[in-house]
Symmetry: C2
């Protein structure tokens, strides 16, 4: 049996470890022993308490495994992946680090390592779909709308997240790079609000976020944008806080104390945005890919609506982010995806067999991407 190690046993890491035990001997490593003991109680996953910010420790820990799953917090992701590659181990990663992954490409090739990163839902599945169609059609435009939202809408934010407010606010600050007619443009965060209607969910609002990431480098489609979905009204509240200066990282003096307003704001927002244990939430995504295929102008639309699973108590966020990663992990273990070097998911999607496997794998978990095709006349 293959041996897999999952680095990071947070909400998504734990769900992935539990999923992988069906096909592998799985060990989870985390600095938080509570996360690990809960995981050990619920599954046959082995657990090791270790500090993964110590890169020598990372290298030691991964040595005996066939594959590494990276699920550490984003700010640790790049260095962790570098250490894993230096250790000569294949890795499939969902840490969503900010750094340019291709800085590690030469190293991965030298080490003969297969590294797949950004392997979640968006980034992740969105890249996979575009990679797939880009291989078979002349894609002219790509649009991705995605959001994770609580079932119960509570004033004022109608929003919950399983991660820190500071990571959410980062999406409300960082300008978004999009591509229009072949040129990269920068749009302010929270800009270009647009209402979208989802049958079961109702109306949501979307705004530009900086989520295209590797797609801007790897794929030459002339029109690409990514937008995040929230319940209507969220944008205006976040714009208000940003405008006042509550998201500012510039220290200002308050009665003799120099503080960053953002640090106070994240403190105050934490209890509002914290996703409760077992709280019902869902993931909604719409991907539109249009272009010319066999001399016909055609649009493909993929719609996802996935909900918290009451049977397993696994959140939709963990399901939709984790299972693309565990599907790709199986492809790498089986050598069905074997491209050495750094691979964003669009490289996986470009292989039709791999693409279909990842979709089928999620379908078995009841994560269904509903496909609509229409010819544009």
């Amino acid at each position: 049996m293959k041996k897999v190690v999952v680095l990071g046993a947070g909400m998504v890491g734990a769900a992935m470890a539990k999923d992988l035990v069906a096909d592998a001997e799985v060990t989870a490593v985390d600095v938080n022993s509570e996360n690990l003991s809960r995981l050990a109680q619920q599954s046959s996953v082995h657990t090791i308490v270790a500090d993964l910010s110590d890169l020598a420790e990372v290298k030691r820990r991964v040595a005996e495994f066939d594959l590494v799953i990276g699920a550490v917090p984003g700010f640790m992701g790049f260095k962790t992946m570098q250490a894993v590659i230096e250790a000569g181990k294949n890795i499939v990663d969902i840490s969503f680090f900010e750094e340019d992954p291709f800085e590690l490409d030469a190293l991965a090739k030298k080490q003969n390592v297969i590294a797949v990163m950004d392997c979640g839902v968006a980034p992740g599945m969105s890249n996979l779909f575009l990679g797939y169609h880009n291989a078979t059609m002349d894609v002219e435009s790509f649009e991705c709308y995605v959001g994770g939202l609580p079932q119960v809408r509570t004033w004022p934010f109608e929003y919950k997240a399983p991660f820190s407010p500071i990571d959410v606010i980062e999406e409300y600050i960082r300008p978004a790079k999009i591509r229009i007619d072949g040129k990269i443009h920068t749009r302010p965060a929270l800009s270009e609000p647009e209402l979208l209607h989802f049958g079961e969910i109702g109306t949501l609002e979307s705004f530009n976020t900086d989520g295209l990431r590797t797609l801007l480098q790897t794929i030459t489609v002339p029109n690409m944008k990514e937008k995040t979905l929230r319940y209507p009204g969220h944008i205006e509240k976040m714009r208000l806080l940003r405008e006042i200066g509550f998201f500012s990282k510039q220290k200002i003096d308050v009665n003799g104390c120099a503080i960053r307003p953002l640090d106070l704001t994240t403190r105050l927002l934490f209890p509002f945005w914290k996703l409760g244990e077992g709280e019902q939430e869902f993931t909604v995504m719409k991907i539109k890919i249009a272009g010319r295929e066999n001399n016909v102008r055609r649009e493909y639309v993929y719609d996802l609506l996935d909900r918290f699973d009451p049977a397993t108590q696994i959140s939709s966020m963990a399901r939709t982010t984790g299972y693309p990663c565990t599907a790709v992990a199986r492809l790498v273990l089986a050598k069905r995806f074997a491209r050495v070097g750094i691979n964003p998911p669009e490289f996986v999607g470009a292989d039709q067999g791999c693409f279909q496997f990842v979709l089928d794998y999620q379908e078995k978990k009841n994560i269904r991407y509903r496909k609509t095709v229409k010819d544009i006349v």
Copy 2:
């Protein structure tokens, strides 16, 4: 010629000093020499730089005058008035202090002093109208809607004030006492939003504020409420900031610094809410007084819309707050209002001659309270 001293030469104090020179020899006292030198340039007002938080200084300064006008900041108002009364001088005041003025009533009577307080627009004119009608009819309900707003509406607040954000936010925190069917009820600040339509201004929203003050003690009308007016949308933004905790006075730790969130918030809001020099603004007020008069059920409505005066560059806030005070000052100087003790403006309004004088005085300044009377059938 009578000698009048104005304590405090801020925006309203300066406007009052300039107004009073027509009928008196006027001296203005302020700690801020810039305020005073501007005033001296524009008028024949004498000026003295002095720190009025020193109460012995207050007593010395008022000694040679026939009348004192109190226009210090609210937090200094009560003690300043006490010092003036101890010095045996009559005073008409617009400092809008929080303390119960009637605590000074016995002292004023002992000193044979006429003291009129809250003598602005609201509190002020609102009290005057109710005092007037309460003397001649059986008033069943009193409603006051009032706001000072900028002409130009700028996102996100569409609000400007000539005073500190902390004084504005206090109105958004402090619960409002209102009277319903003879009983005092407490309502949260910013509660019971209600839209009102004003011909020239458009639609405004109103919310409960704690502005009835002395009326709850002096007048037994069974239904009384005061609401503040803003451009629509302001309430929701203020409720959001309050809900998050940005108006909190509880210290919390931010990276090792204990700060009150309110202190950061007022720092950040200051540039947004600061009324610019010469910035166009207006005051809008609607007062409804209903009851039984000569066996007929009748409603009186008074509507005020007053704007920044480009000729004098005096703001509407200073005009509508300052001229009721200077009108009453003239009544006191002429011994036409001579009730010894503490007098809120409802006591002045109860005298028909005084009431008419204050209205006529403002009409000459083009501050018009449009009266509508209708019998309720």
